[in-house]
Subunit: 243 residues, 2 copies
Amino acid sequence: MAKPINIQNEKPLYMQVIDTIHARISQNFWHQGMMIPSENELAKELGVSAGTVKKAFSALVHDGILFRRQGKGTFVAGPDFSKSFFRFFRYNAATGEPGELPGSKILNMAVTQPTPRAAEILNISKKTKVIKIERIRTLGNVPIVVEDIYIPYKLFKGFEALNIEDELLYPIYSEQFSTPIIWADEYMQSDTATSKTAELLEIELHAPVIKLERIACSYSDTPVECRFSIGRGDQFRYHIVIR
Amino acid sequence: MAKPINIQNEKPLYMQVIDTIHARISQNFWHQGMMIPSENELAKELGVSAGTVKKAFSALVHDGILFRRQGKGTFVAGPDFSKSFFRFFRYNAATGEPGELPGSKILNMAVTQPTPRAAEILNISKKTKVIKIERIRTLGNVPIVVEDIYIPYKLFKGFEALNIEDELLYPIYSEQFSTPIIWADEYMQSDTATSKTAELLEIELHAPVIKLERIACSYSDTPVECRFSIGRGDQFRYHIVIR
DNA sequence: AAGTGGTCTAGACCACCAT
DNA sequence: TGGTGGTCTAGACCACTTT
């Protein structure tokens, strides 16, 4: 499995350890939430000192790949969707009163063919069957985002029969279809509402909207889902600190 | 200066070292670009081991506060504006041919009074004099962003007489007015063009735009500049990776 | 009691930079 | 040649968790 740690290699040992851990996770030898060997065990296995393994672990913890619990062990983390742009909708939920629960309403779900862009992203032909999910995401019954989601039928056979109203999709991908999302790419642009999206989001025609595209990948960087989302511009505010 | 490192303190030593370094930078005892003492020197001064100082330095390098050069020393970094949203304009500069130089054209510069929002951000009264700069930023002569910038007159006396066409402002703040920018806050929203911005940006009325607000701070977290920018939506695309 | 991660130390060797 | 950061090791002590 992977390349063994090599003292002759010009690359520092702790970086080789990082590469080894990355490889084991992406090959699903170690999976999300699983406890991995302790510093001492891995150091013995790889033939380096415990301090070197600790340095590699620390870097991976900082990057959000692993997390550690004192007295328990070191574990594989999942992707952190609090980094997603979705987090920045409804920034002005001033009062935060109850009833402000997130939800999702399914408009349509069907086995069909992908759009050219979806086929390109999923790296499949335009004739390959996909499941298309159209849904509206809400906060406290206010429509915030409308989105089209495409997943390959081959990987998600039977998904189209599930009741996914108000459900999170990624736990279903992982638990019922053995396809965990390891990481994702998101792109954001500014746009204005078409008549269809204006109606669904209950805003004016040509009102400002945020357009999102997400590519979500599983093992071996295989893209397994793409989303095209349109969010209400008046409900979105992004913040960044520059240091 | 600051609290000395204390073995009795419940806080780990390397964190106390981090706090000490933060304090010395924000009090301008160590300034941007300056070489700070080596691991060994600082370890001796603070009464901890070199490894502890190394750990503190590493964390600060990761956070972009310091940078290190093998054989030379450790230096205080400035804020990294490649993190700014401005970086994501003109993403589709496909060819990257020459003539694609960034520039800025001054529309107006005057000593005046702040808007209510600017006064609030700069933490001054509405009667306090400020310098207002209106400019257009371009890429290859194409207008990309139009912005209003407010800086307190008290700190920047004489700025209004400078020729700042095509100049970067922050080096001028730092070198000519002893007011370096240490960090900044940026907010982004989607909007549509007003008739004035449409004309300046050479786009249609109500076309999508990106609205930015930046608060830039100097020593002791004092806000010294605020910017209100409107950018062409068709020239903007933001990307994020979720892991 | 045994195993885990978290902190801290001391020291070695190397590559790089200035002089 | 001496000082700097970069890597790597070995070991100590502590706090926390599980058995």
